[in-house]
């Protein structure tokens, strides 16, 4: 830890206001999502706690009937938006992080194998990646989502929706990670320290895991961060389109979808607050990822 605090990396971090700010925003949002149960004034998904009389209350204005005041107002059902956003944030972050984790595990595994072993295995994995690359990941995610819905019996569709989302986003994002890892592996495996390890008769799996893996991870960290922003946006997009998080577990995207319906009737807050939260999350993850890339890999600038 002490070594970390003294490192160039930490030094640069403290001197990059954008990096610090985005890091603070992301951590705050994560904290809010984790503590949603304790912070949120109401449980927005408990039908018993909803009062239709509270519907369409503007932010920080007392409701005409009940006189209750809501920080960010309420939606048509009288649901407190602030609470809904906290819980929605939790869904968005959870799906995003799990999807990136899935994509990273698959990507690192396949990339390492393809790069190190090479031959037909490499050709197979990379052709697969090429084909998948030609299609935008959001389309792949939609397809996987659609297929999964088709395979699942209708009664399980809502229940499994979150898992299906994670799977579809995770499976649509592994390619960039695998390619990066393969690329670095190809470079690393030609380096002489790998030859030195082979000279003393280490077996291949040990060389891959102990020698090469630690050296290919730092670009993975960068790509995973950038992929997190992509995954969060992908989840929001799917949910916005109505093929993502179910109405019983709305994410930020679902909330924006609901908010859009009330734009013309003047209830702007139902759209604005979830949208701002999503923007803050995606932007700060992106900014942090950008900074990471520039710092760890100055040549990519």
């Amino acid at each position: 830890m002490n070594r970390f605090l003294k490192s160039d990396f930490f030094y640069d971090f403290l001197r990059a206001p954008i990096a610090v700010a985005s890091f603070v925003v992301v951590s705050t949002l994560i904290l809010l999502a984790l503590l949603a149960n304790f912070i949120a004034p109401t449980n927005p998904f408990d039908p018993a706690s909803l009062n239709l009389m509270n519907g369409f209350t503007a932010p920080m204005e007392p409701n005409a009937f009940t006189g209750e005041i809501f920080l960010m107002g309420t939606d048509d059902q009288g649901r407190d938006l602030f609470s809904a956003i906290l819980f929605g944030l939790r869904v968005s972050l959870f799906v995003g992080l799990m999807a990136v984790l899935l994509a990273t595990v698959i990507g690192v595994f396949l990339g390492l194998i393809a790069g190190y072993i090479g031959g037909w295995l490499d050709s197979l994995i990379m052709r697969l990646a090429d084909i998948q690359m030609t299609f935008p990941s959001i389309l792949i995610a939609m397809l996987i989502y659609g297929v999964a819905r088709g395979v699942l019996p209708p009664e399980l569709r809502d229940e499994m929706a979150i898992t299906v989302l994670i799977l579809s986003i995770g499976l649509s994002e592994w390619v960039s990670i695998a390619r990066t890892v393969r690329g670095s592996t190809l470079v690393e495996k030609e380096k002489e320290y790998v030859a030195a390890a082979r000279l003393i008769g280490l077996n291949h799996s040990r060389i891959m895991i102990r020698h090469i893996l630690p050296n290919v991870l730092s670009p993975v960290l960068v790509i995973a961060t950038i992929t997190l922003a992509l995954a969060i946006i992908a989840e929001a997009t799917l949910s916005f389109l109505g093929v993502g998080a179910p109405p019983t577990k709305p994410s930020l995207g679902t909330l924006i979808r609901v908010g859009q319906d009330f734009l013309f009737s003047g209830e702007w807050w139902i759209l604005l607050f979830p949208a701002l939260t999503l923007l803050a999350l995606a932007l700060s993850v992106n900014l942090f990822g950008d900074w990471l890339r520039d710092t760890l890999n100055p040549r990519l600038k």
Binding site: I131, T134, F135, P136, I138, L139, M142, L143, Y145, G146, V147, R149, G150, V151, A229, I233, A236, T237, F240, L241, G242, V243, G253, I256, Q260, L263, F264, W268, L271, A275, L278, L279, A282, L283, V285, N286, L287, D290, K301
Partner: protein, 327 residues
């Protein structure tokens, strides 16, 4: 040269067959077609009769070739919803999507390359920094949110532009175009910007970083040392080398524009194939999904092929077979 073209062609055909295989597998195995057509309560005899009629009891490879064969004749079966032929559904909606994709690609490429070159050459000017910061926000804003915000500003608040639909269209044979009426053109503006903005930032950032990298190359430093003017250095030596990767990526982006149109079309209720697809995903309308996959897959493969061939024409190194196998 010829052998490379042949090689690329073979690759494309292989990919197409793979895509067809996937859409066939989805078509055949996801959501049992018999259940979907007859409902759960059908008798065994009814089911057997339908399986016979649909050819579901034939060997699987025969079914696959039947599928490909009918796809080649634009026969994708009937939609589960409304029982219309899928091909008819798609062809009636394709012009809307293609016009939208074309306009936004034009917007993205022209503005993207201009701003990219500008921000690379004047890298320290205020305007460059401003453009770059805006672009970062642009990348972080999901497409649908951009669309919603544009609607809010230009349709709800300012009431300048329509918020949904294509406006009036004119029928040219089977092609219905919105490019020839004022309301059609007005309706195109917001969706095109929404759809093109992400690609624009991408092309701009790519142009910028490629240009910066090229400007740092020894051959650019060498022509500088030879005393060529900035204009010669930037536009005759650096720009052509910059544009090669930019054209590739921009070309490949054309495909994703069509795919991303799904989102934009939903936001603007644009009557294109994307909207059709998202509804089919929602209602598990398998024939439409698989036909859409085939359509988009075919489009992508063709675009990739064209981009590759373009690349061949532009870069003498590849033309002479130098980089193949090494790259």
């Amino acid at each position: 040269m010829l052998s490379i073209i042949l090689k690329r062609l073979t690759q494309s055909v292989v990919v197409l067959f793979l895509v067809a295989l996937i859409s066939f597998l989805i078509f055949r195995y996801v959501g049992n077609p018999v259940d979907n057509l007859l409902g759960q309560e059908a008798t065994v005899q009814q089911r057997a009769a339908l399986e016979e009629a649909l050819g579901l009891n034939q060997p699987i490879y025969e079914q696959y070739f039947d599928f490909v064969w009918s796809a080649l004749h634009f026969d994708f079966g009937n939609s589960y919803r409304g029982a219309l032929p899928v091909a008819e559904l798609i062809s009636s909606r394709l012009p809307a999507t293609l016009e939208l994709a074309f306009m936004s690609a034009l917007f993205a490429i022209i503005i993207g390359i201009i701003t990219g070159v500008y921000t690379a050459i004047r890298r320290n000017s205020f305007l460059s920094k401003f453009i770059l910061s805006i672009s970062l926000i642009g990348v972080s804003l999901p497409t649908f949110l951009i669309g919603v915000l544009l609607i809010w500003l230009f349709a709800v608040e300012l009431k300048w532009l329509p918020s949904f639909g294509r406006g009036e269209t004119i029928q040219l044979g089977w092609w219905s175009t919105g490019l020839l009426t004022l309301s059609g053109l007005k309706s195109l503006i917001l969706p095109s910007i929404t759809l093109g903005l992400y690609q624009l930032t991408l092309i701009m950032r790519l142009t910028r970083s490629e240009m910066l990298e090229v400007l740092d190359q020894d051959y650019v430093r060498f022509v500088r040392a030879l005393g060529l003017s900035n204009k010669q250095v930037h536009f005759r030596h650096a720009l052509p080398n910059t544009l090669i990767p930019v054209i590739t990526i921009a070309g490949l982006q054309l495909g994703s524009i069509v795919a991303f149109a799904i989102v934009t079309e939903t936001v603007f209720q644009w009557p294109g194939v994307g909207l059709l697809f998202i509804n089919s995903v929602y209602f598990v309308d398998i024939p439409v999904m698989s036909a859409y996959l085939l359509l988009v897959g075919g489009l992508f493969v063709i675009i990739n092929l064209i981009v590759d061939l373009l690349y061949l024409i532009i870069d003498p190194r590849i033309r002479d077979n130098q980089l193949i196998g090494k790259a």
